[in-house]
Subunit: 208 residues, 2 copies
């Protein structure tokens, strides 16, 4: 993939991706196509399983879900808590609400709520917010490479800060919250299925 272009590859240079309008449009369509395919696959699946048991799919224990066959071999005891996609989703939402410091009581409440979606303790919640805050802050400071190109970068302004950057398949999905893509579904059944899908997928990596 050669889409990467080093702009002014010099010291502390600003590195950006350059795309043509066509390429950009292609991406939009790409995502759109996936969104459509997903919806239809879900519909299809629902139709096919209407009468079926889905025996393996309703296991209470998420980690034993047969769907994980592809990625899960870690059914053994895990030493550290790993938020389920659903839990993460909720945590992120709460975090985004801005109420910075989750009070002691708040933590309790959250823990109880998340407990419905998987094992969790107050400490987990506490740590999560602790880390989330810290890392959120760090990331905010890092991307400030006060670009100063000693290089004779042609006087082209860093134009088009990719402003028209809107490729959400669903109008209500937020560009800066990938996780939301899992839940912002207009379809009830779809949403439910996605919950399982999330579990089945190799978590961690897709939810950062």
């Amino acid at each position: 993939m050669e889409a990467e272009t080093s702009n002014g590859g010099g010291i502390g240079g600003l590195y950006v991706k350059v795309m043509t309008d066509d390429q950009m449009e292609l991406l939009r369509q790409q995502i759109s196509v996936y969104a459509t395919i997903c919806e239809q696959l879900v519909e299809m699946h629902k139709a096919v399983t209407t009468q079926q048991d889905l025996a393996g799919l309703r296991l209470g224990n998420l980690y034993c879900d047969p769907l994980m066959a592809c990625s899960g071999h870690k059914i053994t005891a895990r030493q550290r808590w790993t938020p389920t996609p659903l839990q993460l989703q909720i945590l992120e939402r709460i975090f985004d609400e801005g109420n910075g410091t989750p009070s002691k009581q708040k933590i309790k409440d959250i823990t109880i709520e998340l407990g419905q979606h998987g094992q969790i303790s107050e400490t987990n919640v506490y740590n999560w917010f602790q880390n989330r805050r810290a890392r959120s802050k760090r990331k905010q400071l890092t991307p400030a490479p006060n670009v100063v190109e000693p290089e004779v970068e042609s006087p082209k302004e860093k134009k088009t800060r990719a402003e028209g950057f809107q490729v959400q398949p669903y109008e209500n999905s937020s560009p800066h919250r990938i996780k939301d893509m899992y839940i912002q579904s207009p379809d009830i059944g779809f949403d439910q299925l996605l919950g399982k899908i999330e579990v089945a997928s190799c978590y961690s990596s897709y939810f950062l």
Copy 2:
């Protein structure tokens, strides 16, 4: 995709979009998410229809089974920094100087210095030291504990990480062809969907 190496937004009548790494990463994730969802939906569908013949999915065809083609590889081509020999050399030198904890400011300095030899970010430097320390320590402890782990771990087959990510983008396909991927009917067949996913997959790799 051969990217325009010239970042000049409008030079020579060339219109391009400029994206930051973050934005590119976001797109990558969005597509990856959908690809994963599709993948899992397919798995789910297979599980439910194991008794069926899956006629349309015969492997006899020269083309890879759409199912495999799609689930085999992940559209997770995350780019990751790779230190140049020169950078590595400098990093090692600094590390050997023993000054254990590269303070925040120190990291900035190092980053700037290394930036002269290739793209790099503070995070990269930070991670490098983090890993370097951790692995340096581990290596020291490993030799001793010859504890034979009574690991009765099942014969565990290799995860056969289908890493065949060299999906060749349809070189001969033009952007307008993607329209063919759109689905008109909600009652499209399963195998047909798979076909579309496969195509979508290829397009994804084309960008990511």
